[in-house]
Amino acid sequence: MKIFPSLISKEYEVRVYSPLHIGAGIVVNSYPDEDIKMLEEMAGKVRRHIIEMIYGAGSGHPGGSLSATDVLVALYFMEMNHKADDPKWEDRDRFVLSKGHAAPTLYACLAESGYFPVDELKTIRKIGSRLQGHPDMRKTPGVEASTGSEGQGLSMGIGMALAAKLDRKKYRTYVMLGDGENNCGQIWEAAMSASQFKIDNLVAIIDRNKLQLDGPTEKIMSLEPLGDKWKAFGWNVIEIEGHNFREILAAFKKAKETKGHPSVIIANTIKGKGVSFMEGAVGFHGKSPSKDEYEKAMKELGGD
């Protein structure tokens, strides 16, 4: 499903850093401003859903949900082939939200794509709901993997991507990781094997918001030089600004062009993006806003 099909064949321009590529660095393309604006509007809508969901549930993870929003909007409304009216369509691209605590972002994208009524979003975390606190592939249409325990999604993506190759299918698999999640050893097991198996139909996206639960990643468990780590594990590394749709889309394109290696997109983001007092605030990793905060957040996000 391409919500904004007009974008597909357009050119766009962006700087991409891709160590495995000779001559990589600049991709010249351009998207019409008005189409990018449509994506941006969708992102605003998704962010408002996130705040409403978490406020309504009284718990959840706003920070990492907001930082991941633009990448997910780009995936669901532009990059991925998928059909809301046929969630199990065999040829659909797969998305695994390895950082499962950003479930609100995923649910908002799925609802806005038409997998279930937007109205159902408010049932998140409530008993009996199809929208669990962390993604549940058995309960929610459109959710491809059950996640929540960090570190496992990239491996799942590897299984899916290898299955695509076995079945000679064209679908691609996208996995979003938290940056803190890069602490998990299993990520590096997966990284090593994806390169070993030459899984070039797999794209990992790191939501590089520089915060994990207890504080800044570079203070808790330093990740830098992060790109060098992935490169040394055999990946094609693309580094972008993760709130810029032109860069996000360029990165997906670059990844698609890369053969023989898996690609990782390091998306530099801001935790809590879009809500001033949540931006870069470690306290909003896993806390629901108060009533005042809720109202202020909605206003900033252009809600009424």
């Binding site: 009284g58 718990s59 499962g100 009996g128 669990q132 606190g133 325990s149 998990c184 050893g185 468990m221």
Partner: protein, 318 residues
């Protein structure tokens, strides 16, 4: 119904850690990017140089604690129950339990009372995992004060210990003389009774006490045992209670397939078999919801204990 005072087990844990830190310079504490939630952060504030945050790398945390212990430290490793048991079972087994090292694993956010986070965060299997491990001692304090006593006792004890705590504020029920001297491996009788024994652990002890009140109305006089050490199990107290009351109900916020109740069942069949019934989660994962909704849905209320007791009485023809 008695109005309980509510307190948080994690706070009690944090408090105990700080006291231990003051008393003993050989105490080190390890976290895994959840130091605020599990209250090791409180220790970190007081003793930053003896607190180590391993990030989201629980395996490394556990084996590193084994290294600490091998070098003479008493190491506390703490994070959510879901991440400090199954995620690291092999590390606990090989690095800690097999060489009997002085590592204390304190799991918070155990059980379905975790609430909204849902099944992926609701650990209902940890007692099985820790019980089956040779050399492991397993403690489930019934409330906040007992948590503090248990943590202090665990620090005193030489060797691997697993302590299970919850997330929520829970009733204080151990403010009675019987519970003041916490001894690992010793169950406490919270209430005497002649007709049936209710064995609770953790959050379910207070519920057993409430159930006993309820049963009294039906002229059933229930003994209540706080099984705060799951391993080694206080078989003596159990067998005595079985003899005295002739029937037993166990209650735990855990999969009944292999939890405290199954340990009790084994003790009974091999020693003095009486009819019993287990209250607990019947072999299914949890889900999102409020604590109370989930306790109701998964069969963990006072009423469930009362019903189980009636059931056992009926099987005995009474």
């Amino acid at each position: 119904m008695k109005k309980w005072e509510l307190k948080n087990q994690r706070d009690a844990f944090g408090e105990a850690l700080v006291e231990l830190g003051e008393q003993r310079s050989d105490i080190v504490v390890a976290s895994a990017d959840l130091s605020c939630s599990v209250k090791t952060g409180v220790f970190a504030e007081h003793f930053p140089e003896r607190h180590f945050n391993f990030g989201i790398a629980e395996q490394n945390m556990i084996s590193a604690c084994a290294g600490f212990a091998a070098a003479g430290k008493t190491a506390f490793a703490s994070t959510f129950a879901i991440f400090v048991t199954g995620r690291v079972y092999d590390q606990i087994r090989q690095s800690v339990a097999y060489p009997k090292l002085d590592v204390k694993i304190v799991a918070t956010h155990a059980g379905i009372t975790v609430g909204g986070d849902g099944a992926t965060h609701q650990m209902i299997e940890d007692l099985a995992l820790m019980r089956v491990l040779p050399n492991m001692t397993v403690i489930v304090p019934a409330d906040a004060p007992e948590t503090k006593r248990a943590v202090m006792a665990a620090a005193e004890f030489k060797g691997p210990v697993y302590i299970r705590l919850g997330r929520a504020n829970i009733p204080v029920c151990t403010d009675i003389p019987e519970c003041q001297d916490f001894e690992i491996g010793k169950a406490s009788i919270m209430r005497e009774g002649a007709d049936i024994t209710l064995v609770g652990t953790g959050i379910m002890v207070a519920k057993c006490l409430e159930a006993a009140e309820d049963l009294k109305k039906h002229k059933i006089d229930a003994k209540v045992i706080n099984m705060s050490t799951i391993k080694p199990m206080d078989e003596k107290t159990l067998i005595k209670a079985a003899r005295e009351t002739g029937g037993m109900v166990t209650a735990e916020e855990h999969n009944v397939m292999v939890g405290m109740g199954s340990a009790v069942a084994m003790t009974l069949v091999e020693n003095f078999h009486v009819p019993m019934k287990r209250v607990g989660i019947r072999d299914s994962f949890g889900e999102s919801g409020t604590s109370d909704e989930l306790m109701e849905k998964y069969g963990l209320t006072v009423d469930h204990i009362v019903d189980a007791a009636h059931d056992v009485m009926k099987r005995r023809g009474r």
